[in-house]
Structure formats: structure tokens, C-alpha cells
Symmetry: D3
Subunit: 220 residues, 6 copies
């Protein structure tokens, strides 16, 4: 796994923000809190957690066109939904009051594994935000399950953890795992890019992911 | 698993079309062939397979607004990408010539498992289209790997196959599997909706999926 | 006129649904009911009837791009407005309560005359929906005027009824008529595609349309 | 019929332009010429005629929102298609060379009958443009069929010509006719707004329309 | 400065409307009044003034594509914001009650200086609208500061006022000034198009603009 | 003026990138080079410089909605055009070959003066990019005019330089200046927000801006 660094309070405006660096993949995570919930939850006394994901035009080797001009891509929608779903497993929404926690994950530099870095960083930033609101007396600190995410893959027939862009480009199988601190699976996704995978390799990938996630959880 | 029926040639215009019914989930799959490939493949002598997914407004209990008026949802993008990726594992794209096979999957009735029904139906329709083009001498029949997809989930702590809408609504974990005829994993996705899943339940889900997929492959 | 078949309850979710087949033109009509009206009618105690129209990508010989990606065409808007206007002549809106009846007309196979088939099918499906709501005690059965629609045209100098796609492509004049059961004109539209039409040919087209509509009304 | 005035050369930039006033309905018609045709006509040696329609925000009593912010309405698409179809009947497109004539019809003041005023004005402006190009030696003067359009309706049971906004609002039937100088029907559209129309009233509307169109043709 | 003409009541529907002609630049200005304010001002007892700007397709030598089809351009947004900001300096918004005055500025013919002509015309039309509402007893006449706008530029090294299109195309510097009747600066914008401008030329441009604006104010 | 810091190579992919910090306003500037020019310049042997501007959702105190979901605002278009115009004055485009230099300016933290910080940073980053391409032998180093931009305003009747957000919110007049190293005016914009400005205050603002820009140029 590549070296991981967390730079807290990178932005000043949001309730909580941090920059997570995994090698040359750098993702800025910012938590905003709104005192209302989406229409489908109104009046139920429960909260909501959602996420948005973006990549700066200069985050990739070849400039990426802005989604403000070309519209959000299918990939962006897919990642946003994944981040939001994962974070909602972290805490009992009923403990949040009628509040929406929106986590913006913006990629400043992309070198593979941006979606899993985003989940890991977003979970920590969200935890920071809970802490600040609790310290300010706005809400009690909710019980939470720590979680982290890591990418893995089959490259040249071998299971590997935390692929960078060049490893990922040649992988036969791409995988992303979101695991809770007690080792349960929140989200597992494996995708054959070059060739289908024998079932026993899924086990190898999960073994690696468990190791990676427990290292990431030490950063909390 | 719910009873499965295939109605071939439901539409007249496309190169191949069929209606797949899995219980009350009915998906129309139609294959169109274009004698060109997307810009990034031009001049490489290789083909392309892609998919689009839609739901008719009346396919659900509460009418679903058309994507022509509200724009494609994140869910639609996610499903389209999943279908396309899976089908591209079915055949060596180099054997297709500079042709694009586009499979439209339109849900007429939705009762859970529409994305996996779409993949299963699309794979069969694509195979039909290959056969027709080969019979007409347009291209040689490519070698292919049969595949099928099935949904599964954890409901009330138990692993279950092929969830209908009401089972799916209460599931702790949703899962979708795309497997090849030789039992390898093309795509595995598990999502905690209610609670994270112990790793051993992933094995139970995979066991069920293998059984389901082999039944589906008997329909070819 | 081509043979006509009605398949009821093709979809499970909507209040009423049917598939109308006129030759190789197949249109799925589904009625949804909402317990509210558009803003301009709010609080007036009156109901509303509106329609949406779409064509599946595989309904035509050359695949039709989805309106979810290219936006609704002018043709689609024109047809939707025509269906909605025609159906609103079928019943006194004041008898419906503050309810909106939305009829989705989706073309599964297109071989000419899709808009008139849609009107004929939508009127029957709307009648079915009234019957179901009346049977359930939700509203009294409103008085209604049965109506049907049929296309016609001048082909090679001759007036013809119910043109299929190949006849329509070579027609000098295209026409669409929506008539009530007592022979009055709800909507008459004639369009010169190849050459303007002498006034007396309008009479011949109307004669044909009256005959066609009375046959269609026998299906109710 | 309301008094009609034509003000030529209202705009300076276009090949031809005029302002047509029918009572308080004022429509600006401007013809632009492009030395190319739409893709579907390329290389066939034939020309094309098309139209766009718009209403200024201040053209109505209650300000109309710009289509630049809300998108073109179904009504706008319907009218644009009607104008374009009608004008294409005026001249043999093969005589125009590979040129597109685009007529912009912009309503400055709207008091009923804007679409028919637009057709009448556009036909005259198009004729002016042909004359200018012919005078400049750019193309020979094509043979043309003069045409004009007029609205009519059933108000209080009586057939009426050229309805203004207040008459139109209370009409049982709205109708629009585009007729050629030799009395043939280019486009006939009748729409029941309040009640279906007995067939003999269509004859009365056509009698009125013929009279109105022959008066309009005297303005050429 | 080119000759200026004001034609009042060019449109019938709006509260006030006028056509301002500065040489061959003709802009139609129409004021609509709504009895509500944007959300951010609700309940504060204050009014709002805003503007929209458009160009008819035939206003330029080469036809300009409609913003209804291509979307509003950056230039349009920039001009709309400039007009709105300038007009809001004309009157104390607190004196308007909870009303929105929206001024539509539509260019019928464009020959340079359309944005400054729009501001000058819009200010006069807005004043007319205040007068009409005051005469009708709807609101008291607010105190206002008369203002006007004029373009200027550096052409061939010389400061010039009120550039037409051909002068503007070759200018080294473009400038727009909005001045109040007491000579204060509401908006000053200078843009180097060909070469940066020595500071003393800004003074020359301002001298010219003061002269131009005082002539324009005599038209009130 | 607030303290200014430049952090070079903040992003890895672009040809050149830097982070400019003016107090709590932080803007990331990244230069991408494309070996082609916009259509209107094709084949003329000249280059092009353009800019895009964005704000991260967490850059402000109240979260800013993404332009990917709400569309680019008028303010964004206005700023992008200003940055692009200013940079095109920095160098003779003919010396760049048929290349487009696109500078992305993304605001990470916003505390007033983001557009002027963006211009200052973008000019330096563009200079860096020229240097790298020249060092690599891709193109000769073009001659350039150094430039910088600074905001100013009238607050409580006094001219002030480099306003932060809270000063800017209460300013009577907002101003932005882009000046070249030899003191000429590239762009001057003053906007009355609270009250029009006597002409002599424009001189005071320019005096301040000259001082500010010469300090900024020392950073090159």
C-alpha cells in the first residue's frame, strides 16, 4: 500500500475538511451540514448522508473536461452513489436529527484509487464533523462504525493491493472494497476488465483488502 | 428462482430482439449493429459492445417519470455501464470487425432484478445477432463465452436468490453476480443496505448465484 | 384497414394498460392517476388529462436514438399535444375531481400510423381506468364520448386509409383524423408532403376516416 | 379580416426581411441564406427551406419567459415545423441549388393568429429573397406557387375568420389553413377546444379561409 | 455620437416599452412588473430590478443562432448582469415595495454599442413604468437618478465616442461607461483588445463619455 | 495588501501548475496545452489562450452548489472571459504556433478577490508553461509582457486595496484592475454596488492598483 497522509482543515468554510493523500492520489473531502433533509425523509426525525464527487481538470495527465460543460458522466454518478451508500452504513441515521451531511470529494491529483481514497477520507471528515457539532452542543455524538475503503486487482495473474494508474490500466480484474472496523463487508465490487476471475482469487483479494483497511483505520 | 421465459423476435426492426420474463420482471432486449466504432477504437480493426437501459413509465407501481424529461439518473448510468462491461467479456472484440453492437434493454414490468435479467437477456440476444450475421455471411461466428446474471441478497439473515421487489425492499444486503459458463466471476457486487455482511455470507451468496446461473444457461 | 388487436393488462403497475396492434404498429398505452392537478387548475374542482409519447429505440428499422440522450424532438411534442387535446374532448373534466390522468403511449413497433393508434388505444385505456376507479368507489363513472383516430393519405392520386410505413413514405398528402362516435370532428390535420390537395379530396379522406373510425369503435 | 400591412426591410442584416401586421399581431420575418444543406441532403443538388419561430417576452399581456432559459416549448416546435413544411410546398427545392433558406419569424406583438401571419409573411419574405438573389445573378428565379395562411374558428356556433386573442380564447374550434393561389390545400388543421365540430362546419371554415387567402395574396 | 431616436409604446402588452435607435443599432426595451421579489429578498419590504438581453437572429449581418437552441452565451450573461446592476443604482429599491421590475432588452438591429443603448433605453422605459404605476395609484413615484450609458474606444490611437460595428472591430481598446446625471461613475469598463492603454487615455475616454451621456439625458 | 504566496507544481499532470494564496483566498492555476486551435483560427498559424474558472463547493462559508448540477452561472462566464482576454494581452499569439493554452483556475478557498488572484496566478503559470515548452525545444520562448491583477474598492468613502470578503460585502464600489508591467491598463472595471463614485476616486483606485500590481510583479 502506498504511504497515506491526512492534512486536516485544508478548507476554511466547511464544517470539517481534510486532504487525503495515498501516493500521488490526492482527494479533498469537505463536509457541509444543512438543517433539513431530502423530501422523502421530511418529518421522520431522521438524518441523511450524501456525497458528491468531482475531478479537477488538471488532476489527470490529459486534461479532463469540466462536468460543468459536458454534464456529469456515468462514472461520476456511480462513484457518488457508492460513497453515499458506504457512509450511510457508518452511523444510525436516526441519531443525526433532521440534518443532511453532504461530503464533497474533489480529486486534485489522480493516480488510481480515487474512489476508495474518497471514501476513506470522507469517513474521517464526517467523523470530524460529528465531533465538532457534538463539541458545540448542536447534537450528541452519534455512535459510529469506523470504515475504510481500498482498491485491489489482479495484475499479471497476481492479487495486488492499492493499484496506481499504470498498474490499474493493465489489470485483468479491478476491485473495490469498503470494510467496517469489525471486518464485515459494506461494499464489494469486482469487475473483470481483461478476463473473468476464478472464485478463489476473490478470496485473495479480500485477504489483501482486510489488511489494507486495518492499516487505514490506524490513521483515525 | 422465479420461472423464466424467453419470447424471441418481439420487435421487428432490430437485428435480434427478445423479451425475457423472470417472474413479473419483463425486459425487452434489442440488438442493433452499426458498421462503425467509437472514435477511440477507429482504425484498430476491433469491434465494440455497449448497452442502454431504460424503464417504461408504467413499469413500476408508482409511475416513473421519463428520462427524456428529467435526464438519465445515476442509477441508469450505473446499470448501463454494468451491462456493457459484462457483455464485452463474452467475446473477443477483435473478432467482430469494426462494428458496434448496441443492446437496448427496456423494462416493461419491474419486479426486482431488472439489471440482472437485462444482462441475461442481452447476452442471449447478442448471441442471436452474431448467429444471424454469420448466417448472412456478414461476419464469421465469433467464439463466445456464455454468461448469465442473477441477483441475490440477505433477507432476515438468510441468503436468498432472485429477489422480487418486496423481498429486495427489506433486504440487509443486495448483490448482483455475472458469471461465465465455466463458473468464473465477471462481475460481483454486494451492497449493504441494512447492515454490513460477515465475509462467510458472501460465500453463501456466491453458491446460490452459481446454481442460478447454471439454470439460466440451460435456456440458451 | 389493417387488422386490429387489443391486449389488455400488458403492464401490471398502472391503473389500466393495453397493447394496441394495428398491423405491425404496436403501441403500449398505460394510464396513471395522480390525486392532484397542474398548478393552473388548482382549487377549481376540475380534473386534467394529459399524454406522453415515446418510441423504443428498437421500434424502427434503423435504431432510433433515445430522447433521454438527445432530448425530446419537435415531432414528439407535437404528438403528445395532439393525444392530450383529443382525449380531453372525451369527457367533461369537471366530472373527474381534482385528478390528473396521464396516459403513456410507447411505441414497441412502428409501421406507420403510430400517433393515431396511440389515440385509439389511449382512449380505450382511459375508459378502462374510469371503469376501475368507479368500480372501486373512488369516483363516479363519468359520461364519455367514445372516439377513435385513424390516418389516411393521398397515394398516387388515390385516397387511402391506414397507411403503413412504405405507403406513407410515398404519399402526396398525409392526414390524421380524430372523430367522435357521433361522427363529429375532434381533430383534422392534412399535410401536403408532395403536392397540395384539391378541396374535394379532403372530402374523400373524411369519408374513409368515418368508415375506419366506426370499425375501430366496435372494439370498445 | 383585420387590416394587413407589410413593412419591408425592417432589419438590415438578412437577405430579406419584412414586418407583417394583422391588426395587433405583428411578426418580423427575416430570410437568411446559407450555401449548404442539412446532412441528409448533401450532394443531391437540391436546396432546403426551414423556419424558426419565437415570441419576444413583451409580445404578450403577461410576460412570456424566454425560451433561452426554459427551453423551446412543444408549441414552438409545432409551429416551426408547420411553417417550414408549408414553405417547402411553395417552390421546387431542386431549383434552389445546395442552399438553405432559413426564415426567422419573431412575434413582436401577439393578438391571435401569430402562426398564420408568420406563414403569410415568411412566404412573401422568401419571395423577396429569391428576387434579390436572382437580381444579383446568384441563382435563377425559381418558379413558385404563391400561398398564404389564415386562422379561423367556430365562436358561439358561428364560423369566423382571423380570430384575435379574445375571440380565440372563447372559440369552440380553432383552425388554421394554408392555401395555394390556385385554391388547393397545403395544410388544414382543425382542433376542437370546446366541442367537436359537425362535418359541414369544416366546409364553412374552408369557404372563409379561401376568401381570406385570396385577399392576402393581393398584397404580393 | 450617432443620431438617437426614441419610439415609445412599440409593444402593447408590457407596462412600458420603447424602441431606442442609435444610428443603425435598434434595441427594444420592455418593462414587466411582478408583484413579488426573488427568494433572497422575501419579506424585507424591498423591490428588485433585473434585466434580460437578447439578439434577434436577423439583427446581425451573419445570422445569429438562437439562444433557445444553443443556450445563453457568456456575453449575454455578462450584459444582462451589467444592465441590471446599473439600473439598480437608479432608484432606492426600498421605495418600490415588494415588486420586481424586469426589463427585456431585445436587439432588432445591431451596429455596435448594443449594451449601452440597452441601458439608456431601459432606464427611460423603467422611468416610464414608474410614472404609469404612480399615475394609477399602485405605488408612489420613487425618487430616481437619471442615468445613461455610452460606448467609447481607442481607434488608431485616438479616443472616439459611440463606435459603430466597423469602428469597434478595429479598436485597440473598447470601453463602456454608465454615468449618473450628476456625473458620477456607475460602471466603467475598459478592455484592451489590441494593446494596453496608457492611463491618460482613460481620462480622454471619460471626457468623451461625460459629453455623450449629457446629450443622451436631454432625451428624457 | 494581504500576504501572497506561490506554491509551484501543486498538480502533477498539467504542463505547469501553481497555487496562489492571497490571504485566505487560494486559487489553483493549471496550464494545459493542446496542439490545435479553435475553428475560427484554423490554418492561420496563430495560437490561442483561454481560461476556465470554478469554485470548489467547500470554498465558501455556505456550500456552493456544483456547476455540474446547476450549470455555469453568469458570474462564472464573466470571470472566464475576463481572465482569457487579459492573458491574451500578455503575448503575441502569432509566436505560439497553432497551440491552445488553457488555464484552469479553481478556487479552493474564497475570501474576496478570487478573479484577480486567478489572473495573477494564471499569468505566472502560463509563463512557467512557456518556459517548459521552450526548454523542451517544443517552441521558442515568446516575448511577453508581465501583468498582474488586483481588486480595490471604496469602503466607507475610502479607497482600499485587495478587499477580503467582509470588506467587499460592505463596499460602495467594487473595482478590478489588470495592469501591465509598464503601467498600462489592460482591463479596468468599476462597479457601483452602493453608490455611484465621483470621478476623482477612480484616480485614487488606480493609484492603489498600480502600487499593488508592482508588488505582485516582484513575485515573478
Amino acid at each position: 500500500m502506498r504511504p497515506v497522509t491526512i492534512v486536516r482543515d485544508f478548507q476554511i468554510g466547511p464544517t470539517a475538511s481534510l486532504l487525503i493523500k495515498m501516493g500521488n492520489t490526492h482527494v479533498l473531502c469537505a463536509v457541509s451540514v444543512e438543517e433539513k433533509v431530502p423530501p422523502f425523509l421530511k418529518g421522520q426525525g431522521t438524518g441523511w448522508i450524501t456525497a458528491e464527487y468531482g475531478m479537477l481538470p488538471g488532476s489527470t495527465n490529459t486534461r479532463m473536461q469540466r462536468e460543468a460543460s459536458r454534464g456529469r458522466s456515468g462514472r461520476t454518478y456511480e462513484i457518488q452513489r457508492l460513497i453515499g451508500r458506504s457512509l450511510r452504513m457508518m452511523v444510525d441515521l436516526d441519531q443525526l436529527g433532521e440534518r443532511t451531511f453532504r461530503i464533497d470529494c474533489d480529486v486534485l491529483n489522480a493516480d488510481g484509487g480515487t474512489r476508495t481514497a474518497a471514501i476513506t477520507g470522507a469517513a474521517m471528515a464526517l467523523h470530524d464533523a460529528f465531533g465538532k457539532l457534538a463539541a458545540a452542543g448542536t447534537m450528541p455524538m452519534p455512535k459510529f462504525t469506523r470504515l475504510a475503503a481500498i482498491s485491489a486487482g489482479i495484475v499479471g495473474g497476481e492479487a495486488m493491493l492499492d493499484l496506481d494508474y499504470s498498474e490499474d490500466s493493465g489489470a485483468e480484474v479491478d476491485a473495490n472494497f469498503v470494510l467496517s472496523e469489525d471486518g464485515r463487508i459494506i461494499e464489494a465490487q469486482t469487475t473483470a476488465e481483461g478476463a473473468p476471475m476464478p472464485r478463489k482469487q476473490l478470496d485473495e483479494l479480500l485477504d489483501l483488502a482486510e489488511k489494507g483497511v486495518s492499516e487505514l483505520l490506524e490513521l483515525w
